[in-house]
């Protein structure tokens, strides 16, 4: 099984800057399968696509935001048994402001070693937030 690179996003309260937990449902734009359904999380792992732009829709309780990641895709060789995988370099992020207040890129390299790539600052009025 080849390694997989995931973009890791941490949820924070935009007022207190503290990490928060939310009930999240997420799916890829135009994708019929949900990535997450009503999962209560403090951070989320998002698989980017091999294209230059990956769009996710994330539902925080009842409010849905769209996040577009514009990235460079870098093909990597894992081994001759497991073949290839992709890593990414984030170039910019566009998003709606229904629940998201702002997004900060903390590490633009999305690699097989999962670490925090972005901070998602959420408006504090979200129901269910801590």
């Amino acid at each position: 099984m080849p390694p997989q690179a995931f973009l890791q996003a941490t949820f924070l309260n935009s007022a207190t800057k503290a990490t928060v937990t939310h009930k999240v449902t997420a799916w890829g734009a135009g994708h019929e399968y949900l990535l997450l359904k009503d999962s209560v999380l403090q951070r989320i792992l998002l698989p980017l696509s091999a294209n230059d732009t990956t769009i996710f829709l994330i539902s925080f309780d009842t409010k849905i935001d769209t996040i577009s990641f514009i990235h460079q895709t870098i093909q990597k060789f894992a081994s001759m048994e497991s073949g290839f995988y992709f890593e990414y370099k984030l170039q910019s992020i566009d998003y709606t402001h229904n629940q998201i207040d702002s997004i900060l890129i903390t590490d633009s390299l999305v690699t097989k070693k999962w670490n925090e790539n972005i901070k998602l600052y959420l408006s504090p009025f979200a129901v269910g937030g801590n």
Partner: protein, 254 residues
Amino acid sequence: MRILNFTFLLLLLAAISYGQGEPQKKVKPKRTDNYIRMRGVRLGMDITRPFQDLWTKGNRYGSEFSADLEMWPNWFSVFESGYEVMKIKTNYIDFTGQGSYSHIGFDYNFLQAENKNDKDVLFFGLRYGFALAHQKVTQYWVDSYWGPVTGQFGNQNYFAHWGEFLVGIKGEIFHNFYMGWTVRGKVKFNHKNLWMPPVYFIPGYGKAEKGFTMDFTYSIYYNIPWDFRKKKGLKETSLEKDKLPSDLNPAKKK
């Protein structure tokens, strides 16, 4: 890795200096009558090459032929050449690497002849090996939430070279027919770097990512009984006959 390279260079230098030192001293060999002699060229085929997939990962097979010739008493120059293929097919990749390779070097025999017809040799050898090869990925598959991504890489050519040190034996099983094995250590010198995918397999050497590999060969040989150095050989033979004990010397028995 550096130690292995250094060891190989030391062995090579020692062998070269030994070969060069001998004529300068002009010391005649002590056992002129005990040398194991081989007239003509000995041709061989390594019978392990087609079955390498039994002990290596992936479907690896090939063929190898050799020729060796006595240059000086106990010193044999050797040329080995072959072709190898490595195929790997998994759920994620369909890969083929293949190419030709050659070894050039020498063997030094340690055994003495107990009688004139002894042909068995126990030897130490050094080789310089090089390969011209190419690889391709017929198809690869990357699974993700967004669906599978497929692609391919066409033929990529590369060169590699390495050094080998070995020990082995060759025994005469029938008149002019031999069998023998070698155990080899191989030290990679260099190979061309490919961007993607990297060079995976070097024919005649093994996995490219390794700086040192071990190998085993088992070959059959035929000594062509044609002495193209006949004039020189006859002269040496007559000299050697004079030095043989009477019970081994047919000329003196008469």
